[in-house]
């Protein structure tokens, strides 16, 4: 089963919830840090030695000037203005390219071919310390290269690697693997790329006007994507009651409330996960995982109900 932890607003506690879920369940588990512009799950997981890295690349068009007649077909085709024909020269702007390969197909002279261009890096390792059990926890993290603008290719690479590693865990353990995806904030391509194949989405919010506003955007997004979801309210005794009223009005399940707690804040500021700073939450997060599974229509055998 795949649980995505998302939010509209940034800084509401996605990583806190993702890591705490990961540390509170006994299933073999893959944690994907899909927030590739600022991944931070690993900070809370202690020893990540033995990390392996892989470069993430995307194909971009490269021009063979000797074959180009500057007919302009490539530029007319490109939806993203990543290739343009001006006068007798064709210019490629790889940073705008979405790697669709269309320019290469429409070029009547075979003057374009694809070359791989690096956009980021992913890393993965098995975490043993601090997991509270001897089951396997694999972390996969993506990092978008500084200066690159498009994170979805890196997010997709993280998800592919996660699926491959989940496959190895599943055969070893003969049990279904739980995949937790720590999503980037917002509701644009990075977020939708992350949650697109989730069985259920946990939306983390805070009881403030900004929290509510962006929660509503996130709710509209996951509804449009037809994904089951529920809400977690972090720092739930700050702010006001409008998020609770909103959830009630919209019939959205409120899965967990986490009140302000100095132990949690102090732990967070020194890289200690919530469930370690406040161990009584372990049971609540285990229940959160069960409730999320219920929302996803997944029972313990991992099969979906019709």
């Amino acid at each position: 089963m795949k649980i995505a932890v998302a939010s509209g607003k940034g800084g509401t506690g996605k990583t806190t919830v993702s890591v705490s879920l990961a540390l509170s369940v006994s299933d073999p588990l893959v944690l994907l840090d899909c927030d590739v512009e600022e991944p931070n799950s690993s900070i809370f997981l202690g020893d990540t030695t033995g990390r392996q890295t892989e470069t993430v690349t995307v194909p971009v068009p490269v021009l063979d000037e000797s074959k180009c007649t500057a007919c302009g077909e490539c530029g007319r085709f490109c939806e993203f203005n990543a290739i343009v024909c001006v006068g007798t020269s064709v210019m490629v702007f790889p940073e705008l390219c979405h790697s669709c390969g269309g320019c290469i197909r429409v070029c009547p002279h075979g003057a374009l071919h694809e070359e791989e261009s690096p956009v980021g890096e992913l890393s993965f390792c098995t975490i043993s310390a601090g997991t509270g059990s001897n089951r396997a926890l694999i972390l996969v993290e993506g990092v978008l290269t500084i200066g690159k603008a498009m994170s979805p290719p890196v997010i997709r690479a993280v998800k592919r690697k996660g699926a491959a590693l989940a496959g190895t865990l599943s055969s070893e353990n003969a049990r279904d693997v739980l995949t937790i995806m720590d999503s980037p904030p917002g509701t644009s391509c990075p977020m939708t790329t992350t949650v697109s194949d989730a069985d259920v989405v946990i939306l983390v919010t805070e009881p403030t006007p900004f929290g509510l506003h962006d929660l509503d955007l996130a709710v509209q997004t996951v509804r449009k994507m037809k994904l089951p979801f529920g809400v977690v309210i972090n720092r739930s005794d700050s702010g006001d009651d409008r998020v609770r009223e909103y959830c009630k009005k919209e019939s959205i399940p409120l899965l967990l409330e986490i009140p302000e707690d100095r132990r949690i804040a102090e732990g967070y500021s020194s890289g200690i996960p919530l469930v370690q700073a406040a161990p009584e939450y372990r049971e609540q997060f285990a229940r959160l995982a069960r409730d999320a599974a219920y929302l996803a229509g997944v029972v313990n055998d991992g099969r979906k109900h019709a």
Partner: protein
């Protein structure tokens, strides 16, 4: 000679748009006769990305050999330079004022983009 001006309207008294890629229109003015044509750029005004590149292409295909605008970013600069279009900056209020300033040789011609590129 034909000069392109980024503009928010379609007469010489329209405001000179400080933005190049996301200007609503381009006025293509013949500097000898003051006659002009209008190129609509609203498609790029709403483009997700690459507005400067497409706008530069509009200016080039309109046959302009110079551009007067408030600012020009790096990608637009690259395209315009490749096509041999000279780029002048102006903070004049209207296209007419900018045209007069260009005629008097008061406008600064740039050899590099004067603003950073930006994203989506």
């Amino acid at each position: 000679m034909k000069i392109a001006f980024s503009a928010s309207g379609d007469t010489l008294d329209a405001q000179l748009d400080a933005r190049f890629g996301r200007a609503a229109k381009f006025l293509i003015v013949d500097s000898d006769t003051n006659e002009y044509g209008v190129v609509d750029n609203t498609q790029n005004l709403n483009a997700a990305q690459g507005a400067g590149i497409q706008s530069a292409q509009h200016v080039v295909s309109a046959g302009a050999s110079a551009l007067v605008s408030g600012h020009t970013g790096p990608k637009a600069f690259k395209v315009l330079s490749a096509a041999g279009v000279e780029i002048y900056l102006s903070s004049a209020a209207t296209v007419r004022d900018a045209l007069e300033a260009w005629k008097k040789g008061e406008l600064q011609k740039i050899d590099n983009a004067d603003v950073e590129g930006h994203w989506i």
